[in-house]
Assembly symmetry: C2
Homo-oligomer: 383 residues x 2
């Protein structure tokens, strides 16, 4: 296999600029996916109290998909957002703490209410092509909360060249803009390209990675070395799908490269505390790898599996077809259209269809009833 001109990874030891790194621990927000949004309150209290004593600069808590996700039909957390505020106020006396929001279901009044109860930052998630429609939401959030970050979900599905237009008019008051590798699909060179480009538009850039292909940690370090100021991590890497960059690894690497800025030994203890305290949802490794390579959000995996089975094809084929059809990131409508196209192709290939039928009974796809309303609703708002 020739690799000439494909050196997306080769390391360099040159760094021409000074760089600073802040870590954001989002174990108790992102990690909630891994416990089906049910965190034991005793664990939460003990963990927050110990995080309060670490040098971790920022802590995020709350529902993984965002404040008031239950308004969109998502399973509610056992700890509601009012209770999260109480827990944080009791324990995080020395740390700024924040929550996640999505304009689809998080009311601005709720952001205001959380802020009044001590929340000092909010991260508002949306895909890059949705930013223009949400400029007013961002403006009003900024009037309400001391620090509002814009998290560009599924960043890699949008060509970086389109970012400038899509991000036009984002209020100057924004605290920072995040590149988000929702698919766990980015290579270090992609991270550098995206972070560098966003750095040219906004003074503070963040990075949030996923570990589908085992690159969340190096991507986080690369983001930081490309000028990102804030990088996210979770204890023991717990999070949606394949999880995230383990914050204790990032702390350890910082110690190896530079100095023990984040007390990696305490973070390692907290990672073990997390591992020994929680029972995690087990994800499907095949789907996570396919999602990473092809670029499909893990929130859509149930829909993909359902439709792939219904039209007698492999999930990988359905995913790749959906990505080809999609104008931006592949969304439920694209996955549905892909399933219809595959079903139609199979109709035109009677021999192949018969072969498939031998292996698996094939139900023709009905375009009007291709997925249950629930699957679509859930898929649409998957963070």
């Amino acid at each position: 296999m020739s690799l000439v001109n494909h050196g997306a990874f080769l390391v360099s030891e040159e760094l021409t600029e000074k760089s600073n790194l802040a870590l954001l621990d989002c174990t108790l927000r992102e990690g909630s996916y891994a416990v089906d949004f049910q965190f034991d309150e005793g664990f939460v209290t003990r963990l927050l109290a110990r995080l309060n004593e670490t040098p971790m600069p920022m802590v995020e808590i709350g529902h993984g998909i965002g404040l008031e996700a239950e308004r969109a039909g998502i399973k509610a957390g056992n700890i509601d957002h009012f209770r999260w505020c109480e827990l944080a106020n009791e324990t995080l006396t020395k740390k700024p703490w924040g929550m996640f929001a999505q304009p689809e279901f998080t009311r601005l009044s709720t952001i205001a209410e959380m802020t009044a109860r001590g929340m000092s930052f909010v991260r508002v998630g949306m895909e890059p092509d949705r930013v223009q429609a949400n400029l007013d939401y961002l403006r009003r959030a900024i009037e309400t909360c001391p620090a509002v970050y814009l998290n560009l979900m599924k960043s890699s599905a949008t060509p970086i060249e389109d970012f400038r237009t899509m991000l036009e008019g984002v209020p100057e008051g924004i605290a920072g803009v995040y590149v988000v590798d929702s698919y766990g699909a980015m290579l270090p060179a992609d991270v550098r390209r995206y972070v560098t480009a966003v750095s040219q538009m906004f003074p503070t850039v963040g990075f949030h990675g996923h570990d589908n292909l085992g690159l969340a940690t190096v991507n986080s370090v690369c983001a930081w070395q490309s000028g990102a100021a804030i990088v996210d991590g979770t204890l023991d890497g717990i999070g949606r799908g394949s999880g995230n960059a383990p914050v204790e690894s990032l702390a350890g690497i910082v110690n190896l490269i530079d100095d023990d800025v984040f007390d990696y030994r305490e973070m390692a203890k907290l990672a073990q505390f997390t591992r020994s305290s929680l029972e995690l949802v087990v994800d499907n490794r095949m789907m996570q790898v396919l999602g990473g390579v092809i670029g499909i959000h893990s929130g859509y995996f149930p829909l993909v599996e359902q439709l792939a089975e219904r039209c007698g094809t492999e999930p990988a084929h359905l995913m790749a077809t959906a990505v080809r059809l999609a104008e931006q990131s592949a969304r439920p409508a694209d996955i549905q259209a892909a399933a219809e196209q595959i079903a139609a192709d199979l109709q035109r290939l009677p021999h192949q269809k018969d072969t498939l039928r031998l292996d698996q009974p094939q139900t023709p796809v009905d375009p009007d009833d291709v997925v249950t309303a629930d699957a679509i609703t859930l898929a649409k708002i998957a963070a």
Copy 2:
């Protein structure tokens, strides 16, 4: 935090040389650590039969620590090496398959016997400073087996400058020399330095990584881009301690960078098959991070925990002291010496000692009985 001149990670897109990559799947050798050396035979047969149909170039099987590890007091596998040969011959009709060996306990006659039964390569593991003492073993192994690889365990504990002297006289017939990141402690820039240096001494270089700090995958890709011909991976990353580079991730990344050389979709299926079939030993995340950052082999963790508790100190402090005392890699004698030194220091600091005593009853360290014979034996031969 300043990062000037610490750019161990920054990615580059330049590659000046053509490179070729072979993957070695060692799920059924390295992964045996993760199941306490007990693999269900039905799983093994099904997995090997499916690996036989993939483009995976090489497959390693057998006891994780090496052929005849039980001769050194290590727990035996439920499948002995004769049975492994039978299983491989029944299933791996299209693949070269091999096993792991260590001169301390693997007899040359056993390598000969396995070769007669179809084994086409053996990987002989030892630390770099043990190579000179084992040149004859290597020579005789090469006379016996078609392909003998030299795996330099704990490579990073030896300064790369010392490799040339230590590797002098390695027979030209060696099939390849492996850089092994046993601690999961290497940064991509370290991997490049070690792989490049070994490439200047031997035509074929391999890399075997561990994932303590989340860098096994990127390190493997960096090894390959630095001239390594063979890179190891395991399905779902199963292996000793924090595990290894997931071979399905490496296959997926190769597809993203270049082409689908290794059928990443089938490898992803096999990873899920592995995940859903096995119940894994759960490691201690804190110890894995400490081992990665400080540089202590996970095989010594039980010894570290035992001695740290006995002299009333933190495992991290004991590990760091042992590494400081060690001439090469930290070995059981160094950990023991470190414990003695810490105990003596505590004797000289009565106030601190009293404080410690309040928290934890402290037993004075007896240099003659500092660890059980079992712990030392096991630790000495940990691969």
